[in-house]
Amino acid sequence: MELSTFTLILVALGGLSLLVLRDPRAVLVGFGVQWFGLILSFMPANIVTGSNLFRAVATEALTAVICLAVLAMTLRNLQALKLSRLPGLSDERRRVLQRAESAAQYAPSSMSRERLIDDAWLWAVGLVAGIAGYGLARIYPLGAPESGMLAFYWALLAAAMTLVVHGTRDGVKMAAALLALLNATALALHLLSLSAPGSMSLGLMAIVRIGLCVGLAYCWMLLKVTFSSTNLDLGPLFDGRDGRWATETALAVSGQLPTDEERQEEAATQADPEGGAAAGG
């Protein structure tokens, strides 16, 4: 298998995982795979050779390691954090958070009809984006190697589609998509520049991505701790902006998941239907 083919497979798989997968850790792994593919895409670029190639690959690899480490460590620590155990909470608020955390553990079945339709829709969007990227690379190669441009368009479109579909809902996917967008831009810098990018361009490109990564990781912490978003989704933030706070969330959660007392009552009713009916009457 040629290097360019292997590279394109990595970029395609990574982009698809950004769009389709739901688990935050899997999304980050897919994002890392895509970044690795983009780093390998520098190799066929004609302009990056010799010491410039080493400098470009080393800078990009270092940036990738730092960014992925920051995101992965933040995600790991936040997933281990239990909101209901935070200090300074009122008893009522603590109970609401305990229920929300219990509800988050009961994810809907992956074989439900709604879930299958959602997944099919995302796969279709991914397929269309892939075909569009292939077409754009053939129509507008912009004077760069075709495999490099294909990787660029696939990364760009995957990031754009992820931002459109998940950008206002999922904090993890939004962060990964924004970084993927800048990664595609970094690849364009190597593919479309008339000469090899200078140290200042490379350094700034790395610094802004690390800065963005740190900012977004801090935003995750705000989502979890300040706005009580159990799954790092952006819903509580935007609901809170409109003044919709805990009461409605508590009702929604209690509607979805019965409390321990209700479960015990239900179990008792099932075990002794007549006694339950008599007690009810």
């Binding site: 300074g88 912009l142 831009t185 364009a188 479309l192 900012g215 977004l216 935003c219 701790v225």
Partner: protein, 466 residues
């Protein structure tokens, strides 16, 4: 030698900011006279940075080959100097306001000063370093700093009060939106710049050049927060005025100046110019109509909203004039547009800051609003006059009709401000304050420093015209 001076000039605000933060953090922990002296030390460090930065930049930018700036090389170097210093002035104001116990809570955070200093340093770097891609990336780094400042003002702990949490959610979402739009705009700007640089000098493939220009233009519109990408700014103004001052006062003019420098390699002849320059005139006219409508429709309790709309429309008017200057295809128009961008950097913080102090000190707030509005309208002897005059001269060379449209836009915005003043004055609650307390107010410092800077800009623009 020039390189060393330039590097020091660019990093001087950052060093000053770091020292100032150390002093301010110390001042927050220590009460009494020691804390007060630490506040004064922070202010002195920032003023020192301002004093050192100016001569360093002037001596470093003496070598035109080092800069490699293109169409408007000599004015742009001075524009960069002025814009960087204007941002540093904002930082000084924010630190001063934060050090006072009776200041508005929005200006208390010393982190806003760090953001302002970072922006000023990045602005100086982006305007002085020749490579367009470096300018774009410096501006994005500034956007990250602005968003970071807004997010750092949100505490990393659970807040029980629902009203406070709503405000924090508003601030966080505004910062997040600003960050996302900036990242998207930066991506488009870099890609557009690469295409324009690749195909700008050869006219064999005009289609690709047009695609590059289109991508670049959309990127500039996104980064400058123009419609329809202006979602983050209203939230910023509502939830974090200090951050909005930094974003509007430093980021937007820098983007305009960056656009000037990016578009300058493309040879706009007069035929193309006359077909594009009308965009600026029509934009100015629409801004004027919107301002006049807003001043008549929104009354009473919504006076703050009307103030925000008028500020936004005044900035849009200034952008219309600047756009006309860019597309006029003349050196005079491009220089005038640069001057208008710097003027916006000075006037917008004054207008937003004045609006924030309306409840605290009505008289000084009105004075700041009048100075800022007159400057954005391009009236003498304030800083906007020079740029407006240059663009007007460029417009006369194209067609008197477009000059009439631009002036009509200015007239309508002026009418909007007059309408606002007539409604705002009778409703105003004039607090009983003596002259001493008025002069000790942070807004007085802002007005004084910015009036001096406006006058300097006015006289310097006369020098450049000659």
């Amino acid at each position: 030698m020039g390189d060393t001076r330039l590097v020091w000039a660019i990093f001087a605000p950052w060093i000053a900011a770091s020292l100032a933060v150390l002093c301010l953090q110390g001042a927050q922990r220590v009460r009494g006279s020691v804390g007060r002296w630490l506040n004064i030390a922070a202010l002195a460090v920032l003023c020192g940075g301002l004093l050192v930065e100016g001569p360093l930049l002037v001596s470093a930018t003496g070598d035109a080959a080092l800069l490699g700036l293109r169409l408007v090389a000599p004015p742009v170097s001075r524009v960069g100097l002025l814009a960087a210093n204007a941002s540093l002035l904002c930082a000084i104001f924010i630190v001063w306001a934060g050090s006072r116990e009776d200041s508005a809570p929005a200006f208390r955070s010393s982190w806003a000063a760090v953001g302002a200093c970072l922006v000023s340093g990045l602005l100086a770097a982006s305007l002085l370093v020749a490579e367009p891609l470096v300018q774009v990336l410096c501006l994005f780094a500034a956007a990250i700093a602005i968003s970071g400042v807004a997010m750092l003002q949100v505490p990393l702990s659970y807040v029980d009060d629902d009203n406070s949490r709503t405000l924090l959610a508003l601030r966080t979402s505004a910062a997040l939106k600003y960050l996302a739009i900036s990242a998207l705009g930066t991506g488009l700007l870099v890609i557009g710049t690469l295409i324009v640089l690749r195909y700008g000098l050869s006219l064999e493939d005009r289609g690709l050049l047009q695609i590059g220009l289109a991508v670049l233009s959309v990127g500039l519109v996104m980064r400058s927060g123009a419609m329809p990408f202006s979602a983050a700014f209203p939230d910023m103004v509502r939830a974090a005025p200090g951050v909005a001052v930094i974003a509007l006062g430093a980021g937007v003019p820098a983007t305009i100046t960056l656009g000037l420098m990016l578009l300058s390699p493309v040879d706009f002849n007069s035929a193309h110019a006359s077909s594009l320059a009308w965009l600026g005139a029509v934009g100015a006219l629409l801004a004027g109509l919107r301002a006049l409508y807003a001043s008549q429709q929104i009354r009473g309790a919504q006076s703050d909203s009307r103030h925000h709309i008028l500020v936004a429309m005044s900035v849009a008017l200034s952008l219309g004039w600047a756009l006309f200057g860019v597309f006029s295809g003349s050196r005079l128009g491009a220089t005038g547009a640069s001057l208008l961008a710097v003027n916006a950097a000075l006037a917008v913080p004054l207008l937003v800051g004045s609006g924030a102090y309306r409840a605290t000190n009505m008289r000084l707030s009105l004075l700041g609003t009048v100075v800022g509005a007159l400057s954005l309208l391009g009236l003498p002897p304030l800083g906007g006059f020079g740029g407006t005059l240059m663009v007007a001269q460029a417009a006369v060379n194209l067609s008197g009709v477009w000059l009439a449209a631009l002036l009509l836009g200015s007239l309508l915005v002026a009418g909007g401000w007059l309408g606002w003043a007539s409604h705002a004055m009778p409703d105003a609650v004039m607090p009983q304050s003596n002259l001493r307390s008025m002069l000790a107010s942070p807004i007085a410092l802002l007005i004084c420093t910015l009036i001096v800077a406006q006058l300097a800009l006015f006289f310097l623009s006369g020098h450049w015209t000659s």
